[in-house]
Each structure stands twice: as structure tokens, then as C-alpha cells.
Symmetry: C2
Subunit: 405 residues, 2 copies
Amino acid sequence: MALIVQKYGGTSVANTGRIKSAAARVSQYYSKGHKLVVVVSAMSGVTDNLIKLAKEIMPLPNEREMDVLLATGEQTTIALTAIALHSMDVPAVSLTGAQAGIVTDGVHTKAKIQNITPKRIHELLAQAKVVIVAGFQGQTLEGQVTTLGRGGSDLTAIALAAALKADLCQIYTDVDGVYTADPRIVAAARKLEEISYDEMLELASLGAKVMQSRSVEFAKKFGVVFEVRSSLNDNPGTIVKEETKNMEDVVVRGISLDKNQAKVTLVRVPDKPGIAARVFKAIGDASINADMIVQNISHDADAPVTDISFTVDKPDLLKAQKVIDALKPEIGFCKVIATDNIAKLSIVGVGMKSHTGVAGKLFDTLARQGVNIEMISTSEIKISVVIDLAKAETAMRAVHAAFIG
Amino acid sequence: MALIVQKYGGTSVANTGRIKSAAARVSQYYSKGHKLVVVVSAMSGVTDNLIKLAKEIMPLPNEREMDVLLATGEQTTIALTAIALHSMDVPAVSLTGAQAGIVTDGVHTKAKIQNITPKRIHELLAQAKVVIVAGFQGQTLEGQVTTLGRGGSDLTAIALAAALKADLCQIYTDVDGVYTADPRIVAAARKLEEISYDEMLELASLGAKVMQSRSVEFAKKFGVVFEVRSSLNDNPGTIVKEETKNMEDVVVRGISLDKNQAKVTLVRVPDKPGIAARVFKAIGDASINADMIVQNISHDADAPVTDISFTVDKPDLLKAQKVIDALKPEIGFCKVIATDNIAKLSIVGVGMKSHTGVAGKLFDTLARQGVNIEMISTSEIKISVVIDLAKAETAMRAVHAAFIG
């Protein structure tokens, strides 16, 4: 008899048929005597449709009103899910974010959860009710409706699991779990039984978008162990938790490939203090996110110059190039090279902390495939390289074979 | 500078174009310096669609959950209406029923307003904001979402007008106001400048369904003067208020025709105490609403028998007939005649209280048209007759010509 928090995403409640399937799963757990809190997202498509309506009226609608508008999506799903459970003779009660005691700050459309007062949830659980909670939404202390932004429903589930000290938190989605690599690219990719928060964070931020980073960070902060699994079958998923000694035996947990990056290089920039600051302040001011940044040492001691390279999201490349061009009179570099013909390949694993030679093996593997490395960036548990887009998938398969099998 | 409550029904906010039109009207009033509280319904079709979704899952969904579900309809409209006002540079804030301080009892799907605490509305009005309130919904003291049932948005508007002591309450709908008769049947019908609550109630309950009776009753109870008018043009509408001495000069204010009635007659029922009670208890137990009931005196003093006739809504006729048939062994009437080939014609006017000869003139007018009267029922300000359905429209035009012109 455990207290279980389950979360069903938009595709898992896309229509009344899917809602009934999700309810049937909840019912199975309930019939085994477990206590259940079920967090649901808006039915897929609903949120986009509401945004479309608002933008028909005004291109940049007020954020407070967008929260009032979008909160209806999850509210619709909680009622339908409760009704689906009733149809299976399972007692269920729906709660909006506000009713569930989810208190947030007042930053509309991307509010942060400040605290959870789960009094009502506890009361309902004590009455043997399944509690259905609207994901993605909360309420300020002043009674304003707020939403949590992208990935908000996952966050609701993990925050509730923390507040309720749940025994288990299951994130149901349309994939079977976290894989060693994207199975569409690497046929040999396999589902991981477990992964550490840090590995998941690196993989999430690197393009294996099973979950948004903020939910994983929240889980890490509060030590919430959760499982990512499919709502379409009964396969066990991937457990995400704090790293264990055991986990370090595996050097590389997963490999990700981000094809949505582009590269900008400033050639022969004067190598003096303040130049990099000037460049990246301008990039930041233009709301462009620079991801990898590489600058190498300068060789000419008399008139020191260097090259600065960085990557941005592909759609931002043109804008980034314009920003840099505008700096030329002030900074005086030689030229700018911009290319979107690249990909970023990363290997991630907490085992790298205690294993040596990982980088060498990666570079060697790439060299054997005739893949040139254009940029390198490393963290304690990750090595990323920027390579030619055309060779990226071949490279990924080779790296997977070398490190994972 | 007045405080004005405006209510826009589902067809007046049916899509983003209509919402913008409604907002433009609000903006006009606002620019004249008025304070505005705007009550909106769900966009037309939305509520029906939500009900359809719920019934796909379960034929008789739980009423608490239906309230959670249906409340999303109005919540969507308040946000979109506020955004539409913002697009016209009018400061506007949306409030759900709960946020607006509308407290109801806990009878889900047909809750009654218990009180309104308009603190937040007053604060926002003091900040020169237009306040958009979700119609049809409220919250119990325990924080449960409730809805007010049919005509609930009108009720919200009138209750808010009472609580705020508004100077004006305008109910915007898709008709120009209240007419002397249905203009689709009587070409000579004309819009009334004013009508008393009681007349409006008789007309509403008789099939001229501009507004639900409960809203008019509420307005009468709290003395809220309101105007029914069109959201599609700028024509003045019909003012609904307490009757004045002046109003009694008009004998017949309006004529209504209800073609949705059917008639059941129990022929030769024993005329003894308790029979009528038995019949109408059985009808009530079957959730059938008997409207007109007529029983005449008995002529045969030795074995007194009588006929009992009553009308029901057409869809209930078969059910009513079955209920009565089942009573035959117990009561011992001769036979049952059931027909849906009838219509109910009513003339309504507070002037009837002080004018005589109205009934005679009505019956005479019908006789001249060769219309036989099958049942008669009267109240202080109304005379209703049941007549042949085939002659109903001709009869209505003749009665309109005789009393109104």
C-alpha cells in the first residue's frame, strides 16, 4: 500500500478514449490498495488552440489573462478524468491547482511553485478517493490564477510527490523511458533502467527532450525519485534518482545529438581584456542564447589575436550574425564565419568522474570515421563536440558502438 | 458617470470577431466615463461540446465534476474578452465566479447564489478597470466550483447589479428586446419599450424564451431594473421593471404561443376526494411537469364522475400516458385521451387586473376564427387557452390584431 503520484501528459489524455485508458491504469493501481494522486495535462492540441484564439484578438496578449485562459485546459481534463474513473466505479475527485493548495509566485505564464498546502489532498486520500490534480497551474496568495510554463505538469507531479512524501512518482508519456541514444538514429540504442538526475539534466538540455530540465532540477533538489514510462504499454520505464556508487561503473550513460545548433566564429579578434564580454553582452541583449563558447590561446605575442567561436540555436543564426557585424567597427576582428551546417554530439555519464581516457576514446572514434572536430566543450560528466552535420548520424552510431555497444 | 452591468450571452461572444464587437461596445461606454462590470457566457457551442465529451465517457456524469468541467467555458470567455479590451487600450481584468465573490450553495449544476462579496470588484473599479466576470458559475464556502444551471449568466448579471447597486443592467442577446408576439408568426408584432416583471415572467414561462424565469424573479425580488437588448445593433431594448400605474393602461402587453405542449384527458374519473392528488403525485414522481390542469364539476349526483385534463411538454406525452394507464385499475376511469395536436395561446398584461371583459373578447375573437377552445386557465394577469395546433398561428394573429393592433 503505497502513495503514488502519477502524471499523464497531453498525448496520454488526447481524447476521451485515451482518458479512459489512463483511468483504467489508475483503477488497476487503486484496486491493489494504493493511494493515488493523478496529475493531468491539457488534452493535446487544446492549449495551442487557446493560444491561437487569444492571438486572433491580439498578437501579444496580457500574461495574467493568458493564465486564466490556459488554466481551463487542465481543468477540463481533471473533470473528464474523474468522470472516467467514476465510470469504473472508482471514487475520484478533481482539484484545480488552486484547490490542491499549489501556491506560486505572481510571475504569470512562468510562475514558480512557492509551497504546497496539501491539506485537501490528504483529506480526500483519507476518504479513499483518487485525487485528480490539474497540472501546470497554481494560484498566488492573492488568489490570481497562474501557470508554470513549459513542462509545468511534470513539475506539478514532482512537487506534489515531494510535498506528499509519495512512495513513487510515475511520469507517463508517449515514450518508453530514457534511451542510451535516439532509437530513430541508433538502432542499437536501448532503454536505461536508471539514470542519475545530473545525467538526465545533461541529456535533457542536450536535445533528448523527454522532460524539461526544471522538473529534473526540482526532483534533484528535493530528492524525488521518479520513473519515466509509457502510457501505451505496461513496460517498466527509466528510474531517475540520485547517483549511486553502482552507477559510476557505467562510463557513458547516453549519447545525444543536437542538430538545431549553428556556429558563429569571429576570426582574428584582438586578444585583450573585455572583448569577449562585449561580444556576449551584445548577444545576450538580443535575447540570443549562446550555448558552447570556445576561445583559444593567442600565438602572436606582439599583436595578439585569437578566434572566438560560439553556437546558437539555428533560428537565431541570422540575428546573431547581424549583432556581431554591428560590433566590427568597435572591436576590429578580421571576419565572421557563420554556418548552420553543424551538429553537437555529446556523451554523458557520471562514470566519467572516475574513469580516464574517455575524451581520447571519443576523439579516436570520431577520427576513425573521418569526422573532423570543430569545437570541444567538457563538464565533469559530459563531453560535447561540434562536428559536420552531414556526418553526425554516422558518428553517433560509431560512438554508441564504442561506448555502449 | 454610472455603474453599468452588461451581460453578453453565448451568441454575442460566439467567436473572436463577436468578442471584439462586444469589447468595442464596452469600450464606448468606458470612454464616456462609466464604470463597467461585464458578465459573459461561454462561447456558443462550447458548453454543448463539453457535455458531449463527458457523455462520451459516461451517460450520467457526476454533477460536481460537470461543474468543474462546464465552468471552463465562461473562464475561457472572460480571458478572451479582457484581451479584446486590452487590444483597444481599455484596462480590463477578468474574474472567475469564485474570484468575483459569488458564493453559492452546494447543489451542483443548479446552485443558488447565497451572497456576493464584491470586494475585489469594487477595488478594481476604483482602479478604473473594466471588470469581466464569468457568468453561470460560483463557489461554495468550502471552495467547490458550482454552476447555476440554465440562464445562469443572466442571473449572475442581475445578482451583481443588485449587490453593486448598479445604475443600469443591460442584458445583451441576439434579439432586439421583448415583443408583443413572436415576429416570425405575427408580422404586426412590435418591440415593447417596457414590461413589468410579472408580465415578463408570464411570457417567459409561456414560451417567449428571452430569459429564464429565475433571473426575472431574482430581479423582481431585489428590484433590479434591467434592459434586454441586442448585441448586434444600437437599438434601445425593452426595460423590465416593477409595474407602474401607467402600465395598467395597456390591457394586453404580449401574446405567446407554446407549441411544445401535449394534452392528456382522463375521461369519466370517479369524482371523489384524493383522485386528483393520486394522479398528479404519480405524474410528479415520474419527473413530468404538468402545466395546465383543468377539472370540471360533476353533473351526476348519484355516481359522480368528471373529466380531468392536463398538459405536459410534448416529449413527456408517452411517459405521462404510461403513468396514467398504470393507474387505471386503482382509480377506475373510463379511458385516456392523449394528443400532441394542440398549442397553448396566452395573453398577458397587468392591465387585466383593472379591465373587465378581456376573457370575453378573447373567446369571441377565437370563435370568429372558428377556433374551438379545449381548455382554459387564468391568472390575475394572464389568460391561457389550449387550441388546435393547426389553427394556432392564425388564431394568434387574430388575437394580436384584436388586443394590440
